[in-house]
């Protein structure tokens, strides 16, 4: 159809809003990153690329950068592998009510605020004393683990929590995706005598192609953005800054250290990082956004 006026009436306000609330702020981040910026001061000094030069020397920044990458790649890899297997398993459950029951249990954490669940875990699952995980470990005569209080275990603790809180969506999507694969493919494979694992890699995965790359792309982007659990479980970055990631370091620099220019410089690098990873991922997976 064609009606330029109608198209304009719809698109102009929509694009204006997007420009106002997405494009202008990201340009604002670029702009502020060039200053020693604090809105409470009457004068703010122009630093040029000074804030970026400082990033390279800031060990906390380097640590947050590494932590972010480790967190995203490990968590997403486990998340995708786990949800694929779960999807495969649940898709094999024939009784409707039963499979819904499984999906409800797995999806439940997705309907509660992440901040809420993060507090639940940090106050009732992870504490060395009285935390359920350690209570169970001690019942089995295993030395309790200091989850959120040791530099070594904090990141694993955050990863475990994030997987728990976030596998719901992907499990549902993969279960539906696997359900959608026509049964004749498997019957053909049966005749060839292919095992389950071979069938999974030769049939399920390739036929899941679009769902797979879509889910991976969305999961990666969303994991770069995670904030609440770090802010709650890793106060000020946690012991040894083992839980400091870029999002929380932006918040800390901007609103606690009140160094908004520096916070903006960190923001810009996070933005570029997400952009780069998304582009690489799309190249690898050839995500077809349809057009």
């Amino acid at each position: 159809m064609k009606n330029n006026r109608f198209v304009a009436i719809v698109l102009v306000p929509a694009l204006t809003l997007l420009t106002l609330f997405v494009i202008i702020p990201i340009m604002g981040s670029f702009f502020f990153s060039l200053f020693d910026y604090n809105p409470l001061r009457n004068q703010n000094h122009f630093l040029g690329l000074g804030n970026y030069a400082r990033l390279l020397q800031d060990s906390t920044y380097i640590k947050s950068f590494q932590n972010t990458l480790i967190f995203v790649f490990v968590t997403v890899a486990i998340n995708i592998a786990l949800t694929l297997v779960l999807g495969q398993f649940i898709s094999g459950v024939k009784r409707r009510w039963l499979r819904n029951l499984f999906l409800v249990a797995i999806f439940l954490p997705c309907v509660a605020p992440v901040a809420n669940s993060a507090v639940v875990w940090s106050r009732s699952m992870y504490p060395t004393k009285g935390g359920l995980i350690n209570v169970l470990l001690m019942a089995l005569d295993i030395t309790p683990v200091n989850w959120v209080g040791s530099p070594l275990m904090l990141m694993p603790a955050l990863i475990i929590f994030t997987i728990w809180v976030d596998i719901g969506y992907n499990t549902v999507l993969f279960t539906a995706g696997i359900d959608g694969i026509p049964k004749d493919f498997y019957e053909a494979a049966d005749i060839d005598g292919a095992g389950h694992i071979i069938r999974f890699f030769k049939i399920t995965l390739p036929l899941l192609g679009r769902t797979f790359s879509f889910v991976t792309a969305m999961t990666i982007i969303s994991h770069f953005q995670m904030f609440a659990q770090f802010e709650i479980m890793a106060r000020d970055g946690g012991p040894g800054k083992a839980g400091q990631v870029l999002t929380t370091y932006i918040y800390y620099s901007g609103f606690k250290a009140k160094d908004m220019g520096y916070a903006s410089a960190i923001s810009v690098t996070l933005f570029l990082l997400i952009l780069a990873v998304t582009l690489v991922q799309q190249r690898l997976n050839r995500v077809d956004w349809g057009y």
Binding site: M1, K2, V7, V10, A14, L15, L18, F21, V22, I24, P25, I26, G28, S29, F31, P39, L86, F89, V93, N100, F102, L103, V104, A105, I106, F107, L108, P109, V111, P113, A115, S117, V119, V120, S124, M125, K129, G130, V135, Y169, L173, T175, H196, T211, I221, Q225, F227, A228, E231, I250, G254, F255, A263, S264, S267, L270, F271, W289, G290, Y291
Partner: protein, 278 residues
């Protein structure tokens, strides 16, 4: 003989898979069960940390929560934000999706890419300028500050475009020949045909706004203006040691959406499955 063995093996395999999934699902629920149990325990019992079920069940924690923080008020704030945001996002996503699915115009691909690209800008990277912008617009410490910035979103547009493209052009053209105008077609032809997608987008959008943590943390100030997702950190930093009461808050925060979810689980799951790419 051979067939029978295979059947047994298949049965065993199914049994193992079934048990794995069952155990896993129970493990998923454990933190919530534990949260519930703690919320009914006395503080002294929690400090001792030597019981699983409460020795003495108490409602003290819940009473304390309602005495100290305005839970109902926060709940209403969350409802207002999530409902109004979802309504607006539904409207803009379907309308813009319709434009991209059914209209020909210059620069269409570039504009669509532009919209998709905005999805790659996470709000965390624009914390500082967004805050200043919200303040200049006079929205600071007001609930609309959570709604207005997200009124148009890439994901919803992308999803709706996909679904609307599947509607045969002939339907629209037939309506056009009958003299229907563009908005009429959108409202009376397109919308009824993409109900499932609308349902999916509703749930998806609602949950995003319901669970949002960072923006309310930044944009809202007065405790009375806060949303439910801030309740837990507000309460737990205020009464650091009172684990029982903290678990009561956590339970109350979860309760409303959990009830809705369990009551409509079938539709929920089906809708969520639809937000994936077909």
């Amino acid at each position: 003989m051979h067939e029978g063995a295979k059947g047994v093996a298949e049965g065993v395999r199914k049994g193992i898979i079934f048990s794995i999934v069952t155990v896993f699902s129970l493990a998923m629920l454990t933190p919530y069960v534990w949260m519930l149990l703690l919320s009914f325990k006395h503080q002294a019992e929690i400090n001792k940390a030597n019981t699983f079920l409460p020795d003495v069940w108490t409602l003290r924690n819940y009473i304390k929560v309602f005495e100290t923080v305005p839970m109902v008020h926060w709940f209403m704030n969350s409802v207002m934000v999530a409902v109004s945001a979802t309504t607006i996002v539904l409207f803009t996503s379907t309308l813009v999706g319709f434009i991209f699915a059914k209209y020909k115009f210059r620069g269409k691909n570039i504009i669509f890419w532009f919209i998709l690209a905005t999805m790659m800008v996470p709000p965390q990277t624009t914390m500082v300028p967004s805050f200043l912008l919200i303040d200049r617009l006079g929205l600071y410490d007001k609930l609309p500050s959570l709604v207005i910035p997200g009124m148009v979103g890439g994901f919803g547009i992308f999803l709706c475009r996909q679904f609307i493209e599947d509607i045969p052009d002939s339907l629209c053209e037939a309506a056009l020949i009958d003299g229907a105008k563009d908005f009429y077609i959108y409202w009376h032809v397109i919308i009824p045909l993409i109900r499932p997608a609308i349902g999916a987008l509703t749930i998806f959008t609602f949950l995003i706004y319901w669970n949002e943590y960072m923006l309310p943390l930044l944009y809202l100030n007065n405790p009375l203006n806060m949303t439910l997702s801030l309740a837990i950190s507000f309460f737990s930093t205020q009464r650091t040691t009172d684990v029982g009461a903290i678990m009561a808050v956590a339970t109350l925060v979860m309760l409303p959406v959990t009830i809705v979810f369990i009551a409509f689980q079938k539709q929920f799951i089906k809708s969520i499955a639809m937000t994936g790419v077909k």
